[in-house]
């Protein structure tokens, strides 16, 4: 499965209540590094669909969630387990570096 979009309205049901480990990519269309990392997240999502869901939230359209999680830099990728943030990765990184950051969730 590739990535899909979540919103302020669906964040609780899609992310906080997810039974599976889920990573949220906070992004915006005007952010060059976000656009750069997006296809890499699609690949990681597809290759690890049995272990982790990856979703994207547009911070322009969904300011409430971005504010709640005190986002000050994007792309910001937060891994949620049982409704809690268990890992934050900030900034666009090459695929091997992202996989290393997320190793414990991809194993």
């Amino acid at each position: 499965m590739s990535t899909r979009d979540v919103t302020d309205a669906t964040f609780e049901s899609d992310v906080l209540k997810s039974e599976k480990t889920i990573m949220v990519d906070f992004w915006a269309p005007w952010c060059g590094p976000c656009r750069a990392v997006s296809p890499i997240l699609d690949q990681i999502a597809t290759e690890n669909s049995d272990k982790i869901d990856i979703v994207k939230i547009n911070v322009d359209d969904n300011p409430e969630t971005a504010m709640k999680y005190q986002i000050t830099s994007i792309p910001a990728m937060k891994v949620f387990k049982g409704g809690e943030v268990v890992k934050t990765v900030i900034g666009a990184k090459p695929k091997p570096a992202l996989e290393a950051d997320l190793a414990e969730f991809l194993a």
Binding site: G32, P33, P39, I40, T72, S73, I90, G91, P94
Partner: protein, 319 residues
Amino acid sequence: MRQVIIIGSGPAGYTAAIYAARANLAPLVIASSVEFGGELMKTTEVENFPGFPEGVMGPDLMTKMQQQAERFGAEIVYDDVTALELDGPVRAVTLGNGDRHEAHAVIYATGSAYRKLGLPDEDRLSGYGVSWCATCDGAFFRQKTVAVVGGGDSAMEEATFLTRFADKVYLIHRSETFRASAAMLDRAKADPKIEFVTNAAVQHIYGGELVTGVGIVDTETGDERTLDVSGVFIAIGADPRTHLVHGALELTEQGTIAVEGRSSRTSVAGVFAAGDVVDPTYKQAITAAGSGCAAALDAQHYLEGLGDNVRQTAEPVSA
């Protein structure tokens, strides 16, 4: 084996690709996995690139250059170079995915990397208020107070851009003189939201989870004080990205790759360099593009000198 591999995808890399492709050299461009398009991907309006009287968005300009290179047969790979072998007639480039590509000539156009302040909490708070990209992160500082550190064009651009969101922007600079162009300095100085703090060096970045302030010292009196800010945007210049060629190519005293005169020829025949990685002075998109053009022409000349057997082994241009 390829004729030429171009490493880098900023204005220098893509211009080299356009010229090399049009010369039927079927270049392979290693564009980087997440920094393709180079520094202009992190800018907004570019107002000084000739041919765009109304200005052009940095990422749009880079997409156009990419498309122009592809139109003439350049092949672009979005990955990072992990190892380079430049000596000998066959140059080899190894990528993050493990692929290895070989070529007769290499054009090295990797640009430069943002300089850090070198303060203890800078890395820890990076992404939590410390930023190198106002266009990426500025919108998260609506109605806040932020600081920009630096005295060049990029510092002025960031400060002016941040006034769209922030209530107040401190422009902190070590001296009273600025490298910034008059146009950009005047615009920043005329902005009522920007307060210039000159002769000031940043000593501390404060904050637990998020940035809360910066500690500065007056470089003349030694007086220390704290500015309460939620964001610190660092724009103190960049260093040429040469780590892949240390020991392989000669560098200048400024740390850029040494080239012969106005050419792009490095200390190794068949290896050419262009853009910010050779330029300690101008560092403009248009000067980078110009040197990328020179590198492609130099590489073309070099390949012609190798003789006809090189041409016959060239891979066909992919459709």
